[in-house]
């Protein structure tokens, strides 16, 4: 340790030490001279040798190299700016992608002791769900010893606040919820286990900061006031702080105690009924010294005990799975291909940028040949030259990474302003140590990629290799080609989705979910209610048909599907239970056979796509389908309403049964604009039963929302693709310029001998034809291979869609041609007399 500090002290007082040494040697020399000896060699060199003992010489060399590199770069601003621009883009894009990954899956949420929180989910070999019955949650919570606390959130339909038109979003939470998350308070207090656990306590509500600001003008006097939610009075006890962060990713307008759910939803048995009751999402906090595995073991034992009490509640082989609970996104295995795909595309940009810069560096090598041979001639070691050249690359990479980081941060802020919500105010895009480390890593990696080979070549004075240049062009074209085709595919997919017939009509349909089931309606009551509603709706002017659907379409609600194996391929079948007017209402044609009869059993209508896959080349009508051997009575047109983004989804429809009625959505089709129908529908639903707070939405809004993601993806891919092309264009431009300058003399001779312009151009560009073509072919092949992983988000077009490919390759070729021709024209302006005189 002492040695380290002495070394450090030396570094800090280097100048003083140096002077002392000089003084000392001078004294030595004086003395030696007095005695008539004179062999005190080169003073400077001896001092340098002595200094080496301290081990800091590398810093001197590095500083020297850096100073030199800075001077060199400063002297050719054109090259420096281009290089920094190209590399900043390449690094910036990867840093942006990494920052997003960091925010989503690496960073911990700013909650209390985030590392000890685990997300707990029900699993069985067949079933994966985030939802756990409230009764199970209570059982685990009351019996666990490995978890020091458990908390849960239950979703809820939106509620009416006082008499506002705008509904508010609501979460029911356990009384320890805010304490466990460590949520700060802006006014009043939050829920507390000690006071708010009882179901009979007076009804209370906690407001979000956003709602408090928006609706109550941040009035601190709101605490203690009574508000009405769906007509039920409740006292506001407090407001959560603005920076509230949640493991559930939910940012509702207000929170209610889960124990008071049946007060707010009259007739609800959500938290009392074991099997039919509502589901919660749950988290646990690991007790000190307990690992997640140990907790899982204990929960498995508890699950098996619970099965003895409620055999129906627990599945076969059920267990509770734990995952680290404090990230914005828990990385599921099925997300890995998507993340890898994005990573690969981003890396391609990076590679294009590096290949590009490698080309520029090599081109510069020609100009610096002279300088380097002089330095070698006056005694510089090749290693030293190499180190100096590589330092230049490092300096470039570091400058570029600073700018890339700035670009990325700005980009993220802009993206957040456009797409982000204003609720997760705790979220920050400021680079943390992971992002910094990544940026430095990418800069070093880039310097290695683009700087190593040219530096080696230049130090060895061997840079006239055409093959290296050709490989660089190939790499750039391949990578740009992949990016452009992928963006071409995505753009085409968006157009296809937005502007082609999806197989069903949604423009004029309003969907209503009355929520009969959550208010405890029995099947008979539900039937009566729905019949009345249907009659009233059909009486409205413009309404042409009314239908029922068990699946909620293009709006809220979950999507369930059955995966079956047909001919060795997994096929996702989207089931629905409907009544006969469904097909007419949704504009789905019945191609063959007949419609379902009301309440009919043992009968099914399948989509044409399902019929074709299940019974290829045969008549599907009359065949037996599914576990219950239902008879196929009709074939409907393909309509992937529940899976717009899954080109291979197929559908099956059964007739709704009486027990389904309480959970069904009502679809209303109108001849005119559907917007006007919403208020009338709402008043009809409420006049039939004032307890109900129906959820009403336009299918066309839902359709827009579900294609929004694809539009954004396509936009991002297009930006990446264009960026790659821009970079490739800069690269080709640079390399052709280089080729022209390198072959100046040859061109001059050709012109002097009377070569025609097109011959000169051909001579220059010939060497680029092969790599461009190779690159395009390799890129196309690579895309055809990897795009198989994309087919899920290519709404309705093939991953080998010719339009996407032709578009991508076409754009690339035009840009490559322009980038090559612009500098090649310079060759035509070569003055043979001057060029030949230069020698």
């Amino acid at each position: 340790m002492g040695e380290f500090f002495r070394r450090l002290r030396y570094l800090l007082q280097r100048n003083r030490f140096d002077r002392e040494l000089e003084n000392e040697m001078e004294f030595h020399r004086e003395m030696a001279a007095r005695e008539g000896r004179k062999n005190f060699g080169n003073d400077l060199r001896l001092r340098e040798q002595s200094r080496e003992a301290w081990g800091w010489v590398w810093i001197d060399r590095l500083l020297q190299d850096l100073r030199y590199a800075a001077r060199i770069l400063w002297r050719s601003p054109g090259f420096t700016l281009t290089a920094i621009f190209v590399l900043a883009l390449g690094i910036g894009v990867s840093v942006t992608a990494f920052s997003l990954l960091n925010i989503l899956v690496l960073k911990m949420l700013p909650v209390r002791d985030p590392a000890s929180i685990v997300r707990l989910q029900r699993r069985s070999p067949e079933i994966t769900t985030a939802d756990t019955p409230y009764l199970s949650f209570l059982f685990y919570k009351n019996h666990t010893k490995t978890l020091s606390a458990m908390f849960a959130v239950m979703g809820s339909p939106s509620m009416e606040l006082n008499d506002d038109l705008q509904p508010v979003s609501v979460n029911y939470v356990t009384s320890n919820y805010f304490t466990e998350l460590g949520t700060q308070v802006a006014a009043g207090r939050l829920f507390l286990s000690s006071q708010d656990e009882s179901a009979n306590a007076p009804p209370i509500v906690v407001l979000s900061h956003g709602l408090w600001e928006r609706r109550f003008n941040s009035d601190p006097g709101i605490v203690g006031k009574v508000i009405r939610l769906n007509g039920k009075p409740a006292t506001v006890i407090g407001v959560a702080a603005k920076n509230y962060a949640s493991n559930s990713g939910q940012y509702p307008d207000l929170w209610l105690p889960i124990t008071q759910e049946s007060y707010f939803v009259e007739g609800s048995n959500a938290i009392t009924d074991a099997v039919g009751g509502a589901a919660v999402r749950m988290w646990g906090r690991l007790a000190p010294g307990i690992t997640a595995k140990v907790a899982e073991q204990e929960l498995l034992t508890l699950t098996n005990e619970l099965r003895k009490q409620y055999p129906k509640l627990i599945w076969d082989k059920e267990y509770i799975r734990s995952d680290p609970g404090s990230h914005l996104l828990v990385l599921e295995p099925q997300m890995i291909p998507v993340f890898s795909m994005i990573g690969a595309l981003v890396l391609l940009i990076f590679i294009v940028a590096c290949a590009n810069l490698g080309g520029l560096m090599m081109a510069r090598g020609v100009a610096r040949e002279h300088e380097i041979s002089i330095r070698l001639a006056i005694g510089a070691g090749r290693m030293r030259i190499f180190r100096q050249l590589f330092t230049e690359s490092l300096l470039l990479a570091m400058l570029a990474s600073v700018i890339g980081l700035t670009l990325s941060y700005t980009g993220l802020r802009i993206m957040n302003a456009i797409y982000g919500d204003d609720k997760s105010t705790w979220m920050t895009f400021a680079p943390d140590w992971r992002v910094m480390l990544f940026t430095v890593g990418m800069a070093l990696f880039a310097a290695l990629l683009f700087g190593l080979a040219p530096a080696l070549q230049m130090a060895r004075q061997r840079q006239r290799k055409t093959i290296a240049r050709q490989i660089l062009v190939s790499i750039q074209i391949t990578a740009s080609c992949i990016l452009l085709i992928v963006s071409g595919l995505l753009v085409h997919a968006v157009h296809h989705t937005l502007y082609s017939d999806p197989g069903f009509g949604y423009e004029q349909v309003v969907s209503i979910t009355p929520g009969l089931d959550s208010h405890g309606y029995k099947p008979e009551a539900a039937r009566a209610y729905i019949e009345q509603l249907r009659t009233r709706l059909l009486g409205l002017p413009g309404v042409t048909s009314v239908a029922l659907s068990k699946e909620s379409l293009l709006g809220n609600g979950f999507t369930s599907y059955i995966t079956t194996d047909i001919g060795g391929h997994p096929v996702n079948i989207y089931p629905n239970s409907v009544d006969p007017p469904f097909f007419k209402t949704m504009g789905i044609p019945l191609l063959r056979g007949r419609n379902l009869l009301p309440g009919e059993k043992q009968a099914v209508i399948v989509s044409e796509s399902l019929a074709r896959r299940q019974w290829p080349g045969q008549e599907a009508l009359g065949k037996k389908f599914g576990d219950n051997k239902d008879v196929v009575v009709g074939i409907a047109g393909n309509a992937r309403i529940k899976a717009l983004n899954d080109g291979e989804a197929v559908e099956a429809y059964w007739a709704a049964q009486p027990e389904d009625l309480a959970a069904m959505s009502v679809l209303v089709k109108t001849a005119g604009a559907p917007e006007g129908l919403v208020p009338e529908t709402k008043s009809i639903v409420k006049s039939l039963d004032p307890k109900l707070f129906p959820y009403i939405w336009l299918l066309k809004t839902g359709f827009r929302d579900s294609t929004q993601l694809l539009e954004n993806t396509a936009l991002a891919a297009t930006i990446l693709g264009l960026l790659a092309t821009l970079l490739a264009a800069v690269g080709i431009l640079g390399l052709v310029t280089y080729a022209v300058s390198q072959r100046n003399k040859e061109i001059a001779i050709r012109i002097a001998l009377g070569a025609k312009p097109q011959h000169v151009l051909f001579a220059i560009l010939r060497q680029f034809v092969l790599p461009v073509v190779t690159g395009a072919i390799a890129g196309t092949a690579a895309t055809a291979f990897v795009s198989r992983f994309l087919h899920k988000i290519l709404y309705g077009i093939s991953n080998l869609d010719p339009a996407g490919y032709a578009g991508g390759i076409g754009v690339l070729m035009v840009i490559a041609l322009i980038a090559a021709l612009l500098p090649a024209r310079r060759a035509l302006r070569v003055d043979p007399v001057r060029a030949l005189h230069e020698e």
Partner: protein, 113 residues
């Protein structure tokens, strides 16, 4: 090519450090005096080259075997004196012991082989 100074008499590697430590045992000396002392004590057989003396001294400063302090030379000039530290004494002991062991071993071979 760097210019190298060949010492007049080859000194076994590591011996210079040992000799410097040894001559400093009796008191602090400046660089030139160290070279002189070694030269004289070896009956002018060993000559310490400036090119190896100062790097060796720097290394010993780094290791903490010697410290430098300002003093006045015999010619009345301000100059750095080197003084042995406790660590330097320990190093001297172990180097002497080591040197004895090695020389003895070499002697044994020379006598008996």
């Amino acid at each position: 090519m760097p210019i190298t100074h060949m010492p007049k008499t080859d000194m076994p590697p590591g011996a210079l450090t040992l000799l410097i430590l040894r001559v400093l045992q009796s008191g602090s000396l400046h660089g030139y005096a160290i070279a002189q002392r070694i030269h004289v004590l070896s009956s002018e057989v060993l000559a310490v080259e400036e090119g190896s003396l100062y790097p060796a001294l720097q290394k010993m400063l780094l290791k903490g075997w010697v410290t430098a302090e300002w003093g006045i030379s015999g010619t009345n000039r301000k100059v750095r004196f080197y003084r042995l530290t406790a660590a330097g004494r320990k190093q001297l002991q172990s180097e002497v012991a080591n040197y004895d062991r090695v020389t003895e071993a070499i002697q044994t071979i020379l006598r008996t082989a």
